[in-house]
């Protein structure tokens, strides 16, 4: 089964931590990535703040193009900050992997993947 590990939190909170606390969190990501590399292929992404996002909302008339609106999809307190796409045998394993990056500033959602695809260039 493929799973997504979705990382939710308050934007800007990580940047407000001291260098020491930040590296504590980054070390967790390092451990997770090491374990994932050992297992094989995975994908990961840290997202930019939602102020850089646009959202597409369907137009009232279905034949028209959707409306492009500045900002995130919804005004919520917690935002999707980043995600991993991983491949593992069981939910238990996905949970154990996610524990590496758990910290007081994030909530993590593990959601199975219905259809994976594409391959990104990490240096783009």
């Amino acid at each position: 089964m493929q799973y997504s590990i979705l990382i939710y939190g308050v934007e800007g909170e990580f940047e407000r931590l001291t260098e020491e606390e930040q590296s504590e969190i980054m070390a967790g990501h390092g451990r997770l990535q090491d374990r994932l590399k050992e297992k094989g292929a995975y994908a990961g992404a840290k997202l930019m703040p939602t102020s850089s996002a646009v959202s597409l909302k369907p137009a009232a008339q279905t034949q028209n193009k959707p409306l492009v609106v500045d900002g995130p999809f919804a005004e919520t307190k917690e935002r999707l900050l980043g995600l991993y796409i991983i491949d593992c045998e069981t939910l238990e394993e996905a949970i154990s992997l996610s524990e590496e990056i758990s910290s007081p500033i994030v909530t993590i959602e593990i959601r199975p993947i219905d259809w994976p695809g594409g391959l990104l260039n990490p240096d783009a």
């Binding site: 308050v10 500045d70 900002g71």
Partner: protein
Amino acid sequence: MPENKWLTSRFSQIRPKAIGALNRYFRDIDLAEEAFSISCTRALSHWQKNGLPDDPLAWLLTVGRNAGRDIIRKNARLESLDEKQEELAAQQISENEELIGFRDDVLRLMFICCHPDLSPQDQSALALKIVAGLSISEIASAFLVKPKTMEQRIRRAKKTISEANIPFEIPSMIERNTRLKSVMLMLYLLFNEGWSASSGEAPVKATVCNEAIRLTRTLLELFPSITELMGLLALFLYQHSRREARADIKGDLLPLEEQDRSLWDLGMIKEAHALMEKSVRHMTPGPYQIQAAIAGVHARSKSDEKTDWHEIEKLYSALYALEPSPVVKLNHAAAIAKTKGPVAALETLSPLCEELKAYKWFHAMRASLYLEIEDFAAAKVAYEKVLSLNPLAAEKRFIEEKLEFCKKNL
């Protein structure tokens, strides 16, 4: 306030909205700050015991409101004010809270810091204190003054703004735009305050730049489709992306053409690009967007030689049409020197001779352009003009060298 590394960071993120709302509620910034500080202290012990509430901001506001009311009640007894009336007024405002949202609260709070009677530096200091929540000693070290001095300055500035009487009703669209404009200028000056660091001050000054970026992000989150705000944030990010490259080992500032571009922060540049792509879609250019676009051209250039000076020249010409200032004209001329050569640049500058005769950079630029076309006599006259306009010690040494060179070639 006792320390907890994770929660302290959360409190700083919440602060602009919380202080903005509490200030509307109490109409008193000192009280809003005190109430927020009390609610954070209570949150520390409560949240650590019971876990984070579903809506931390709402939690802090409720506790802050009660704490503030307690303070008013205590003072009211001392000053024999009508406590009931106070409370009634407070309740009425709170019912409107959901309706108004935090947008205008945060904007109002920042706008209050832009009081026209305050110097740009005092506006910046106040915004760092009230909105960003920096301590007096942090602000003092960023402005290179003693904490005691900064404390007095902030106290005086607070007195000035307390007499300002900015209405608490929901602003009209025109009023909102006026406020946004002032606040953007204040943020621009705040960032420049941090950016204009000379050697050795860099670490503290970076805090100021970071805070300016954070406050601008907060504002953009609340006003997501204001294109000039996107431009302003992009401009800051482009600038700040060069922070590691802008000085040499000795701490002397390096011009763009001498910077090691591999030290530029790609993450910030990418975010700035994303913001510019968004803003361009609206086709409502403005001075901040154009300045950001200029910085963006540099950010995209792999090396100084590969810089697209034609694009930069066009952008400066557009900027001058919107903001006809001598500094913009000088930069435009510098771009023209790259695209059309020094003679064309000198022609651009010549109509400004009268207007800019007391501006040393004007003469310095003309001097270097004359040097390029080997008109040593004219270069010498222009350099002497710079010397007469009180250059800094380092500039003076540089110009004297150039003068010697001119004299030798005469």
